[in-house]
Amino acid sequence: MLYADTVEANVLVHKPWFVAAMFAAVFAIFFAINLPETAFGELMRPVIGEPAESGVYGRFASALVIAIILTLNIVMIGFVPIHVQIGVVWIELLVLFLAFFYTFQLDFPFILQKLPFMITQGVLTTLYVSAVSIVIASVLAILGAIAKLSSNGFAYAIASFYTSFFRGLPLLMQVYLIYLGLPQLGFVVGAVPAGVLALSLCYGAYMTEIFRAGIQSIDRGQWEASRSIGFSFSLTMRKIILPQALPVIIPPTGNQFIAMLKDSSLVSVIGVWELMFLARTLGQKTFQHMEMLISAAMIYWILSICLELIQSRIERHYGRSKVR
């Protein structure tokens, strides 16, 4: 619900036609997949006997069991309050996910042995590179947005050229171009500065457009009213426009921060020992790269969740006016 209201409605997942349709769809899908051949077939062994020889009966029984479990699960979840619903669904999805990883038969002692180095070297470098880039990108974005909204043709031309160019090239290509291209001009930049430069320029371009759109979303009447009572350009911006634009700007900006965290992995190609580089490298000698890739994936995810939480905090702060 966008806004909570008091209009009464029947719960969708309790309508008989919906439950029946869901049951039929799940049953059909799992009947089509040859379930007895998977690990689930082993679980069904007491009912269907030898999975490989169970034939159509085995498939029928397996699909029926799964369809009943899933449908019951969803109907039950429909009865509880929304907070419990969210929690239960999260936990269920997480368990399914972990079960999926569990089937890889990972070598957990190996992961534990490598984890400290992945954090002290990899996570620190990743955070450092992304944090510096985010700060520079935000500054670039503010400048770019103001330039794009100004009536100065020169500023507008530079800003629009900048956003067009850096949004128009793949980030990986920018990393290569800056790392290999700048020395041609005589500036031999190290791998980390080159990576930071590429990330900042690229994300600055995206965020310029976000900031510009946010500022433009404020009704022009606000601007005219402010100017007509004698506020200057900068006072109007600071006191009238930006405070209203911020709640619009923050969700997509948070998105950019999360994307930046993961795109910082692209600088691994120029030899920066950040998380992605270590994930690809540490397990190579012993051919345990699945272990390292999954650990790094989990670390990236946890970092993103932290950013998501911070973002929702900030959003709640700026959304105070919408709470009744």
Partner: protein, 277 residues
């Protein structure tokens, strides 16, 4: 007005050209000797030549060779690990002085690099899945091959390999691939091969050493036929500094002569790969 524009253009190009100084004779050597550090580029994904060991430090045959060369030059070795295609792209611009990462001297590479010291030879082999019905290389006619991108193995499959080094044994193209897939590292190719015979790949061309390592790690693969070619592997530096090249050549020659290289080869491969055999 026109004149002033021309003047600005001239000044800019002058300023730029004074920044960009190509490697002069002895320049790299001077830099190394002055800083007492030898910056070496190598791959971090190429076990057992170079990889991260249990202590999370670079280790392996190439790494040991680089350290030994540094010792003989009287300089501390510092490692840098850019992606392979960044190393082979050239224009190192002083970021690193030397590359010890099992590079094969080829004609194309010789335009940019000089190869002062061949320090060992690897047999390149063809590997297939354990269940493959192919028994000889001829059985792989028209199949899907995988190899590391811009490697000698890929060049070999494409019949475009010219090894440009003294003492490189002659070879002939024995494969007629149907399709060639390029990978960033040979391990990714092996991961695709392990999925099953013909699932994504029918065969991989790579170093015999990596096949042996993978088999040891339990990969369901096997090597068929004899090695398709032997590649000499050399230290690489950028063209232009003959004094530096001479210094490295001297060090590598001495390491061949006093048995240091053979000893290192025994340590990492359990065989002496420093001569063609």
């Amino acid at each position: 007005m026109k004149n002033s524009i021309r003047l600005i253009a001239l000044a800019t190009s002058l300023a730029l050209s004074s920044f960009a100084s190509p490697a002069n004779a002895g320049a790299v050597l001077d830099r190394v000797m002055e800083a007492k550090t030898l910056k070496v580029a190598t791959d971090a994904n190429w076990a057992p030549q170079s990889f991260l060991n249990e202590k999370n430090e670079l280790d392996g045959f190439d790494v040991d060779v680089a350290k030994e060369i540094g010792k003989r030059l009287g300089a501390e070795v510092e490692f840098i690990t850019p992606a392979w295609d960044i190393i082979t792209a050239g224009n190192w611009s002083g970021r690193w002085d030397m590359h010890v990462g099992s590079m094969t001297p080829t004609k194309a590479r010789a335009e940019m690099f000089s190869f002062p010291g061949i320090y060992y030879y690897t047999p390149a082999a063809v590997g297939v899945h354990k269940d493959s019905k192919a028994a000889t290389l001829a059985d792989l006619e028209g199949k899907v091959f995988g190899a590391t991108t811009s490697s000698t193995y890929e060049a070999y499959i494409k019949k475009d390999l010219t090894i440009d080094a003294e003492g490189a044994p002659p070879f002939e193209y024995q494969l007629n691939p149907g399709e060639i897939r390029s990978y960033e590292t040979s391990n990714t190719a092996l991961d695709d091969l392990r999925l099953g015979d013909g699932v994504r790949l029918d065969a991989v061309v790579s170093s015999l050493l990596s096949f042996n390592e993978a088999e040891k790690a339990g990969y369901p693969i096997k090597v068929i036929g004899d090695p398709v070619f032997y590649e000499p592997l050399s230290v690489a530096i950028e063209r232009g500094d003959d004094e530096f090249a001479a210094k490295i050549a001297e060090a590598v020659k001495a390491m061949h002569a006093d048995g240091t290289l053979s000893k290192l080869s025994q340590k990492w491969y359990s065989v002496d790969r420093t001569t063609v055999n």
